[in-house]
């Protein structure tokens, strides 16, 4: 058991231990407490008090042993130290040393390759980590999008392809309370060079209002999340026209997609 603070009782025990006043059994128990329990409180107290007790040795009359004590001690110590082995003369390495050397070189080469592989793996790991982060962001965006398009308050406007774009389709998820459109396009070929597609809000009264200039991807897809301008929630239709770059203030060209708003 480790103690949390030094009480008088613990101080007493440490003092008795330091001056050697504990019985043999008490000393063994105390040493076990210090070493096995690793009680820092008692260890610190015991160490300091043993230091103080050891100073009692300076209170006795000084005396010196005879030189024979040192002579016996040093003789015994020298005999306990193994003699140094003579260095062998340099000789040509035998086949064993050659094999050992080759194995060592091979091990170093293998280690070098492992280190290189490690670096490549770490680069790949970094790339994958970055890609995962991007995908996680996209996932969050897609989930948000799904929540938006499936909201119960949404109206749906389907747009049909017009003229040469009869195969194209578009759908608008109209969040009327939130005044927001989520606009999906499919199978609409990319606009010809020098032209762009333009999405229009077509109000019941007044002129069409430009929502967005865009171009589809090479696979004919396009996606847009756009708020409605203030005061423009009463719409008659939604339309996409093909306009000269960079787009127009009002529709000038034929419709590519058209859908009724009510």
């Amino acid at each position: 058991m480790r103690h949390l603070q030094l009480t008088d009782e613990l101080q007493e025990q440490a003092s008795l231990y330091a001056v050697g006043a504990l019985s043999e059994r008490e000393t063994a128990d105390y040493v076990r407490h210090l070493e096995t329990d690793q009680c820092e409180v008692c260890r610190a107290a015991a160490m300091e008090l043993q230091g103080a007790a050891s100073l009692l040795a300076y209170s006795v009359a000084p005396a010196t042993p005879s030189p024979s004590v040192k002579a016996r001690l040093m003789e015994q110590a020298r005999q306990s130290v193994p003699a140094e082995r003579p260095q062998p003369a340099l000789r040509r390495p035998g086949w064993f040393e050659w094999v050992a050397g080759a194995v060592a070189v091979g091990a170093l080469a293998a280690l070098f390759l492992v280190v290189q592989d490690n670096r490549a793996l770490r680069r790949r790991e970094d790339e994958l980590t970055s890609r995962i982060s991007q995908l996680e962001v996209q996932l969050v965006q897609q989930r948000g999008l799904i929540a938006t398009v499936t909201a119960p308050q949404n109206r749906v406007i389907d747009l049909a392809g017009q003229g040469t774009n009869v195969g194209a389709r578009a759908r608008i998820f109209w969040d009327q309370p939130g005044m927001n459109w989520v606009f999906f396009v499919r199978d609409l070929p990319q606009a010809p060079n020098g032209s762009v597609y333009q999405l229009w809000f077509v109000p019941k009264a007044g002129m069409p209002v430009s929502a967005k200039v865009f171009n589809t991807e090479s696979n004919g897809l396009y996606q847009l999340d756009i708020p409605l301008p203030g005061g423009l929630n009463d719409l008659k239709a939604a339309a996409v026209t093909i306009e000269p770059e960079p787009g127009q203030l009002q529709p000038t060209c034929p419709f590519a997609l058209l859908g009724a708003g009510e």
């Binding site: 006043a21 504990l22 100073l55 005396a63 040093m74």
Partner: protein, 188 residues
């Protein structure tokens, strides 16, 4: 660096070298502390022949255990003194021959080499400080301390020898040690 810290650092170096089996380090360590160790051992065992045998055993133990010395447990000198006291007490307990314990070691006329040699100033300084600290200690605290430390008596044996309650003896040892620790803090 103070003298005391310099000495402690030198001692740590000597023990490190002894751990590496450098007999010259043992030689130096012995020369440095033979007086202190032998004086204590002689005080406890009471005769030169046994004291010299025990002193040799003490330094032999230091040599053998130098690799296990843990500086976090205390200074090298304190470690040596603890070994010296323990071996001296063991010698007294195991001895079967009857030797007359000297009451006053300073009056002893023994074999050549028994007289003390001049001490380094630091040792003399510590010796003076310890004596002064003991002089300020109450007699009823000093006696149990000395009986425990120099005679190897347990608290129960001291209580019996002095005819005092065990609790009183324990408390006086505790307060006596607290007093010594406070007075000699600079040397710890």
């Amino acid at each position: 660096m103070t003298d005391d810290r310099r000495i402690e650092q030198e001692d740590h170096d000597l023990i490190r070298r002894m751990a590496a089996r450098d007999v010259n380090a043992l030689d130096a360590f012995y020369d440095k502390y033979r007086g202190l160790a032998f004086s204590l051992v002689l005080r406890i065992v009471g005769n030169h022949a046994d004291a010299e045998d025990v002193t040799m055993d003490v330094f032999w133990q230091v040599w053998q255990q130098s690799q296990r010395y843990d500086s976090s447990r205390g200074k090298p000198a304190a470690w040596l003194i603890t070994i010296a006291r323990t071996r001296a007490i063991d010698c007294v307990r195991s001895i079967s021959r009857q030797h007359t314990k000297m009451e006053n070691v300073e009056l002893q006329n023994g074999p050549a080499g028994a007289s003390s040699e001049p001490e380094p100033f630091v040792v003399a300084d510590i010796r003076q400080a310890v004596r002064e600290a003991l002089e300020t200690l109450a007699e009823n605290q000093k006696v149990p301390l000395e009986l425990a430390y120099f005679e190897g008596m347990s608290h129960t044996e001291i209580a019996t020898a002095l005819g005092q309650p065990l609790g009183t003896v324990k408390d006086r040892i505790r307060t006596g040690m607290a007093h010594l620790r406070k007075r000699l803090k600079a040397y710890l």
